[in-house]
Each structure stands twice: as C-alpha cells, then as structure tokens.
Subunit: 373 residues, 2 copies
C-alpha cells in the first residue's frame, strides 16, 4: 500500500468511526483497502467522465483483491442527483447483487458521492459505503460528514439520509485531470475553513495556494487540514443542530446565487457562488461593525488572486436585484420565521452563527453591493 | 381524549421510545396527540380509499388542534410503494412546506405506512412521523418496528430505512370498514404471534377470534398483545440481525407464493400467503420430527376456521411445481450461500431460527404437499 497517506480519523461513536486517507495513488489501493473491510463484492457508482478516467483502475484494483466488482455510471452533472438517478443507481446495485455486507463505492465528485451515499444508505436499508472523492470539493467537503442525498424539483438536497462511509480514500493525484474551473471552485471551500476558524491556515493558503493547484505536497496537506476541520465539527454536531452550521459560511449568499442562475453550471458552479458569498459575508460583517474593512478586503483579494469571483457583478448574466436575492435567500433551509440566519465573522478565522438578522439590513447592503458593481 | 386506550410502550434508546395507543375512536384524537408532540404542521399521507373514509376526520382533528394540515392521497394498492410513489409523496410534503419539526402522518394500511415512513425518514434527512394504521395487518405488524421502504422492480422492500414513529394510534374502529378478506389476511399475522412464542395467546385466539373480527373488546386486546410481542422483539433486535427473524415465521413460503402469483392481490394477498406459509412451516417441522403432526393439524384447522387458506392447492391459478417454489424461495433475502434459513417450530409457541436447511429436504416436502393437493 501507499508509503504514507496522511490520515484523518473521524471518531464517531457506535462503531461508526472511520479514517480518511489522503495521498497520491490511492485509487489503485481501493481493492486491498476494501478487502481489509471484509467485503466480497463492490458496486462502483461513478459518472461517465470519471469512469473513462479511473473506472478501469479502480475495478482492476478491486478484482485483483478478489472482490466481485461492477460499475454503474450516471451522466456527469447535478441533474443525475435526482429521483430518477437514485432509482437507476439502486436498481443497478441490486442487479449487481450487492448485499448488506458488500460495499458501495462512490468514485467521483460530490454529485456521485451524494447519490451513491444515499443509495447505499437505503439499499436493503443500509449497505456499507466507501468514498473515493475525485474533485477538490468532494475531498475537502462532501465526502466527509455523512450527509447524502438528492435534489427534488422543489429544491436542492431536500431528500437524503445521514450515512457515514467506512473509509474515505482521497487520491489527490486524481485532481491532476480536474478542470481549472472545478479546481478553483473547490479551492473556495478550502479557503472557507481558514476563514471559519483557522486564521493561520488562511495565512498558509495565501502563501501556498499555488502548490495546491499544481499538485505539490501542499495539496495533500491542505486536504488533510480541511478534512480534520470538518471532521471535528461533524463529530461535535453530527446532525447539524448547532456548530455544523458554521460550515455554511458564504453559503446563504452562495445558494441564493446558484438559485438565481438556475443551477446552470455554465453560468455559476457551487464554489464560485461560495467565493462571492465568502466575500459578501465579510463585507457584510464589516458593514455591521463586526470586523475591519481591511480584513474583508484581504479575503476578497486572496480569492480573486486564485481566480475566483468575489462580486455580484461577476455573476454571468446577472443575478437580479436586491429583492430577488432576498427572496432566494428566504427559500433557504436556514430560514426561521422570516428572520435570516447568517454566518458572520469578527475577523478571519472568527466566524459565528448570527440568527435573527433583519431582512432590511441585508437589503440595504445588497443594494449598495449592486450599485458598486 | 379517549377514556382508556390500551398502551404499549416501545422502550427504544436515544430518545426514540414511543407509545402505541390502541382503542376505538383514536383518529379523532390525532390532532390533540400531534399538538402534544409540539408539531405545528402535518402532512397526511394516505390512499384514496382511506382518504374517502377517514381523511376529513383526521384533517379536522389536526386543524381543530391548531395544526396546519394537508393531505396527499396515492392510489390504493402495492403499486404505490414504488420509486414514483416515493417521489410524489416527498414532493407533496415539500409543497405542503413540511419542515423538520413538523409531522408526517401515515393514515392507512401497510402500503401507506411503509411509503409515508420512508418519505419521512428521508425528507430533509428525517422528519417526525406518526402512524395511524387502519388495517389489521398494519395495526399488529407493519406500523410497529420502524421498518419503512418501497419496492424495486427487482424485488419487494429492497429500498428503505429504519425510522421509528413518535407515536402510533391504532384506531380499532377503522377496521369496521375493512373488507372481510383484508381482515382475515391481517388475522394470519395475529395468529402468527401465538405460534411464534405464545401458546396461551394461540389458545385464546382459538376461543376468541370471532370477537376480533366483529369488533368486540377482544379486538383491542389482540392488537395490544401482538404489538407488545412485536415491540419486545424489535427492542431486543432493532436491525434484524437475530431474533427479529422469528417474525418471519410462515413468510419464506408465503413470500415465494406471493412472487409466483405476481403479487396480484386478486389472486393472493400477503396474509393469505402467510396463512399457507404458517401451515406449511408446521407441517414441515412435523415432517422433520420437530413437532407433532397433531399440533400441525391444530394450526391449519384454526386458520381454516377463520377462512384462511392453508394448502398450496388453494392458491388461485396454482403456484407451479416444487422447483418453481424453491427458486422463488431462493430469491428471498434470507438466503445465504444456497442454504435456506427457515423459521421452524418445536410446537405451538416454540418457534426458532433454523439456518442451513437443505434444499433437497424442502423439495421432497413440497412435492408431497403438491401431490396431496
Ligand atoms: N454531502 C455534502 O456534505 C456536500 C457538501 C458540499 C457539496 N455537496 C454536493 O456536491 C455536489 C458538487 O460536487 P462537485 O463540485 O464535486 O461536482 P461534480 O460531482 O458534478 O463534479 C464536477 C465535474 O468534475 C468532473 N470530475 C470529477 N472528478 C474528476 C477528475 N478527477 N478529473 C476530471 N473530471 C472530474 C465530473 O464529471 C463533473 O463534471 C453538489 O451536488 C453539492 O450539493 C455535498
Ligand atoms: N414495515 C413493516 O414492518 C411491514 C410488515 C408487514 C407488512 N408490510 C407491508 O405492508 C403492506 C401491506 O399492508 P396492508 O395489508 O395493510 O395493505 P394496504 O395498505 O394495501 O391495505 C389493504 C387495502 O385496504 C384498504 N384499506 C385500508 N384501511 C382501510 C379501512 N380502514 N377501511 C377500508 N379499507 C381500508 C386499502 O385502501 C387497501 O386497498 C405490504 O406492502 C407489506 O410489504 C410492512
Ligand atoms: Zn459548499
Ligand atoms: Zn407478514
């Protein structure tokens, strides 16, 4: 097995603790790792793009380790995270005769992870699950924490289950084939961890972000730091009743932008919405007198340097007026009784949950942002 | 509230303990009971037949108690327990703006309970859930234990979740409108509890079954005894790793018969398959020298007296030969490595899990049964 993958342990209770391994070349070890979990068969769920790149490698690894392996590939993109995609994956796994003691392997980005995870959570009322995330976003965010699910025509991620993986293999070499744009989008989530609670890590990112993009040892290190941060939050608040909401820094604005651009990835991908949302969250915090304008500027500068958008005017095709934005935010799950819950910051690495933020203050802020262009 | 519903407490851990209330008229109390759980809105899931009979009553009760209530009715019958039915129910609940703190109310038989329960388990990753079972089968079996799910084209109940209700209201007066046939089918499951582990209860059934059918106090008593028996098993083995398999007495044969009759309820409903399966399980046990032929005869006689089928020849349209039956049994989830796991009995009330039963012995038995007609 690989010399020394970095390891992040997720110490959940009730026999659900698991490891996240981070390193180059882990896809080729999936078989040995799956065999070590005692599985005899594996249903690999992936998308067509990732299947073409890594499908044979993972299947070969599983078969070489003595597992019966089959592969189910959905169309790439968010549209597969649907009721129809879910039925297709479940029936595909059943056709592969995946039983309770076997493994569902999610090979791909967050779309595949969420879809395969939900299928694993509910197939025969729960099958074991191995995550092999292949996007930066999936490696630092969606593959950690056990949230799985699909979209409804009535909204994103509205149907799902909590189902923890038995193991996560984050093969950072797979990111070498990821598009620049998807890489940047994932990087917004990396920066987010620094902004939430780790000012030192944000400073480290400012100095080392190029190594993350180019695939140096900084990449593995950054993924491990992010996984450790997320795992800590998840262990303390698995069901998102409290602290876990901090992970939504930048996301109330970001989700609204995704909604207003119709979830068309040609216009805006999730991480781009998050980047704008992070910049807005800091500028809004500065406006409320919570943090300095200088810090808000530092946040936006770094994201822009990494090639990410930080202003509403950068949304291709526009995002409507302040009312449209407020309406889109009000549809978010984190809204209670009309008042908005935001994650705001007293500075870089000092985020906190701010419930009951008045809609009027948000509107005034957004109007100024839109005017500024 | 009702004078004195019978109460069965289900002492699950981690805040999941709940009560099953059994009595006449409980539908009209659903509102007060739901309000006592702190819910502000309820999404009632039901089928069109039950909606016509009890929809207004339960909705009126919920609204009188100050809850916002909406109703979603699927077509009656097993076909609604599908991916499409699941999507329709989830989207219906979302359109009713059911949030995590609200309630999903399942009003109907086992089809509605399984479908609504799975929707509640996964909507927003878990919404609270109230069962109002209106068939005898649902009152004594499917509403207790937290198993929820839907069918796949590849098999029954292959997709689902464990999701315990917050409360079960078994209104035994609703059974007054149930067809004779559905009543008898549910009664097969009632008798099953006696046969599994309670010889006294089986004797009581022999003496009192007419009161269960006619709606006397015996009905409430029988439902309570069955729920207590099932709750005990569920608490000791929630995830069906062991003892819970006992509840499958009669079901390995029964499921095979359902499969061979294409799940056409015009030919055979679940409880009828179970009745034949119970009789077969005892006769097979007698043949293996485990229990007396006299006891096997006593089982079949009682089921027949209640109007239930007890022989393969009674399956309308026939059930194929011994090989077809064996194949259908081998598709059952309870099969491991070719050997069949049966629930057999050393006598009435003395059932046990018998793994590794040889297919050849089963075939010889079935051939004799088919010859006997
Ligand atoms: N479960 C959670 O906690 C959680 C958290 C954050 C986001 N999410 C979900 O994650 C999803 C977004 O994930 P994503 O950004 O990874 O999108 P994605 O899965 O759609 O992947 C993006 C694109 O990259 C391609 N791709 C993936 N790996 C590749 C590789 N190694 N080389 C080349 N191309 C590759 C894919 O085919 C796809 O076209 C959203 O549905 C979001 O809701 C879930
Ligand atoms: N979850 C579990 O643990 C579990 C256990 C056993 C069975 N099940 C499931 O339960 C289902 C069968 O349940 P069922 O037998 O209740 O079938 P069902 O829900 O289809 O109901 C049978 C028929 O009776 C009608 N009906 C219901 N209540 C009525 C009333 N009060 N008056 C008049 N008509 C009424 C229905 O409209 C339906 O046509 C199957 O899908 C089976 O898999 C689940
Ligand atoms: Zn995100
Ligand atoms: Zn049954």
């Amino acid at each position: 097995m690989s010399d020394s993958p970095l390891t992040v342990h997720v110490p959940l209770d009730a026999g659900r603790a698991y490891d996240i391994l981070i390193g180059r070349g882990l896809v080729a070890e999936a078989g040995a790792r799956a065999a070590a979990l005692g599985a005899r068969a594996a249903g690999i769920v992936t998308d067509e793009t990732v299947a073409a790149l890594y499908g044979d490698r993972i299947r070969g690894s599983l078969e070489a380790a003595g597992l019966r392996a089959g592969l189910i590939a959905v169309a790439p993109g968010e549209a597969s995270k649907s009721y129809a995609g879910y039925a297709a994956v479940c029936d595909g796994l059943l056709a592969l005769k995946i039983e309770r003691g076997d493994l569902v392997v999610a090979l791909g980005g967050g779309v595949v992870g969420d879809l395969a995870g939900f299928s694993a959570a509910t197939l025969r009322r729960g099958v074991r699950f191995l995550q092999v995330p292949t996007t930066l976003l999936a490696q630092v965010d969606s593959s950690v924490g056990g949230k799985t699910g699909i979209n409804s025509p009535l909204g994103k991620n509205l149907v799902g289950a909590f189902h923890q993986p038995r193991l996560v293999l984050a093969d950072t070499a797979t990111l070498d084939t990821l598009s620049e744009r998807e890489m940047r989008a994932g990087y917004a989530e990396v920066a987010k961890y620094g902004l939430i609670g780790d000012a030192d890590f944000f400073g480290w990112c400012e100095a080392n972000w190029r190594g993350i993009f180019s695939g140096g040892p900084e990449r593995d290190e950054a993924v491990a730091i992010c996984c450790r941060a997320k795992a800590g939050v998840v262990v303390r608040d698995e069901r998102e009743d409290g602290e876990r909401a901090l992970l939504n820094l930048g996301h109330t604005f970001g989700h609204a932008l995704e909604r207003l651009t119709g979830y068309e990835s040609a216009r805006l991908v999730h991480g781009e919405g998050v980047a704008i949302g992070l910049a807005l969250a800091f500028r809004f915090s500065a406006r409320l007198g919570l943090c300095s304008g200088q810090e808000a500027g530092r946040v936006a500068n770094h994201l822009a340097l990494a090639g990410l958008p930080t202003r509403l005017a950068q949304v291709p095709g526009g995002c409507g007026d302040a009312d449209a934005l407020l309406d889109a935010m009000a549809q978010d799950k984190k809204v209670r009784d009309g008042a908005l819950t935001f994650i705001l910051a007293r500075g870089i690495g000092q985020s906190f949950i701010a419930p009951g933020i008045d809609g009027a203050a948000v509107r005034a802020f957004l109007e100024d942002e839109l005017r500024a262009g």
